[in-house]
Amino acid sequence: MKLAAKMNHHKILRIVSQYLVLGVIAVICIFPFWWTFVVAISTKGNMFEFPPTFWPQGVSLDNFIEVFRVIPILAFYKNSLLITVATVFGKLVICSLAAYPLSRMAFRGSKLILGIILATMILPSEVNFLVNFISMTKLGLVDTYTGVVLPNVVTAVSILLLKQAFDEVPEDLLDAARVDGATEWTIFYRIVLPLITPWLATVGILTAVEAWNEYIWPSIIIAKPEDFPLSAGVLYLRGTYGSSTRVIAAGTILTVAPILVAFLFTQRFFMRGMDGAVK
């Protein structure tokens, strides 16, 4: 009550206006998802109803069932999952291996190596896939998930994040282990790696989202549409089933749902990833 008494009109007005702005922007960010969801669970109407309805008209799962009938969405889920798990696993292993010496070993050329890794952030990587496709052809990795995963396993950002994580481990701990006769490998594997688990989780989750969402590279390298991941496969709905926008909407919801649920449960990891990037 004391607090309420202190609150003058000015303050109330400010808080209300803050929420108003926050609310409007939230609506702009979320509305396309909500509207797609509404159309997807409705039994009538479509995307181009004029005036549109912002609330479901009748509720059914028919459109979702139709998605399962029209495209091999279960296979897409499986393919996405496979690609995501392989990318995350590969990245955590290879990038933490690379980050450790950069953080903890004094070796000749360390500055140069770090510079080379940083340079990849400036290099224009957006259309690397044009040449990578040629490389994959020569390596015989076209139409394999190895080909999908390999170019995405190492990124400079992940190495830097993990290097920072290693930097924070106290040197005394490592020295103590060395005195006890542990090899560098044991120190890395048994002592340091477990200590940076939260950071591994952060890199893992950020990577999982990227891998799950990637759509151009897999659609280039994979030959048969039924081997596509979901992000590439969902576009097939638009091509083959242009008539019913409700089914497309349902497919869209089925595509984003896993990643949105995962995001809501792991929000704090996204914040931490950025925290590291800013430092």
């Binding site: 396309p32 969902v234 990643i259």
Partner: protein, 290 residues
């Protein structure tokens, strides 16, 4: 006793897989790609050196020139995204109830795959879509607009989607920076009687300066390299009005199998990006804390 020393050899064993993959899939494409852009490469026949032919063809090509122009227009997204993201970060940095959910809401577009973004906004922007309905109701427009079918509007619609996808990402960057700022200065300024506006401009903005620079560079590069939104929304149409420089590269290299032409286009974009990145880094350096 050698195990107490850090041996160079061991360090390189640890680094080898990562360096190998970076060399193969990050450096090789750039160097080999630049080389190929001076040839008539095709998977079917032998390769010949053709000098600057691809580049000459490029600069005589309307689609590429439109693309370059659009990529420059795309830079307009940068100030909107950055100013929007900073303001939003300051706003969600307040300890208000339920603020966590607002932050999450702003980040949702960032974690959504671009193909889904394309489908959803394709529907939103449709002539009979929701956007037109809402704007008509608000009396912002008088007749429904063809956001993606009008060649004067489409590129701006695509830019809006790019803004929509980027806002949350940069907001989180700025939020992280804001939360790592020491609070003493703000407190001292409050004691000195500075109002919110003064504190924002005199303390927050100068202290955020390094983050603002880094984010702006990233945003500029992202804008110059935008093409995925084009692919999922308009595929360059209507009447080739929404080609960006890199979408042209993608379109030529992949869909028309004119790889050298596509690579030449991407090489031009790359040179612009590298130039800008170095200019910005040089500009940044004196203020950068080691």
């Amino acid at each position: 006793m050698s195990q107490y020393r850090h041996s160079s050899k061991l360090a390189y064993v640890f680094l080898a897989p990562a360096l190998l993959l970076l060399a193969a899939f990050s450096f090789w494409p750039v160097f080999y790609g630049s080389y190929l852009s001076f040839t008539d490469f095709s998977l079917m026949r032998t390769t010949h050196w053709v000098g600057l032919d691809n580049y000459q063809a490029l600069f005589g090509n309307d689609m590429f020139l439109t693309g370059l122009k659009n990529s420059l227009i795309f830079l307009l997204v940068v100030p909107f995204t950055q100013i929007g993201a900073i303001s939003l970060a300051v706003l969600v940095n307040n300890q208000l109830p339920a603020i966590r959910w607002f932050r999450a809401a702003y980040y949702v577009p960032v974690v959504t795959t671009v193909s889904v973004v394309g489908i959803m906004w394709g529907f939103m922007f449709h002539e009979q879509g929701t956007l037109n309905y809402v704007l008509l109701q608000l009396h912002v427009i008088r007749v429904p607009l063809g956001w993606l079918s009008d060649d004067a509007l489409a590129i701006f619609a695509i830019m809006f989607v790019s803004f929509w996808r980027g806002l949350g990402w940069y907001m989180v960057m700025y939020l992280a920076a804001l939360q790592s700022l020491p609070s003493e200065m703000q407190e001292a300024a409050i004691l000195d009687g500075a109002n919110r506006w003064q504190r924002f401009w005199r303390i927050t903005v100068p202290m955020l300066y390094p983050t603002i620079m880094v984010c702006s560079i990233m945003s500029v590069l992202a804008a110059l390299k935008a093409y995925q939104e084009v692919d999922v929304l308009t595929q360059g149409g209507p009447m080739n009005s929404t080609f960006t420089a890199l979408y042209y590269a993608y379109d030529q290299g992949l869909k028309h199998l004119k790889l050298p032409r596509g690579l030449a286009a991407s090489f031009v974009v790359s040179i612009c990006c590298i130039g800008i990145a170095f200019a910005c880094l040089k500009f940044l350096k004196p203020r950068h804390r080691e």
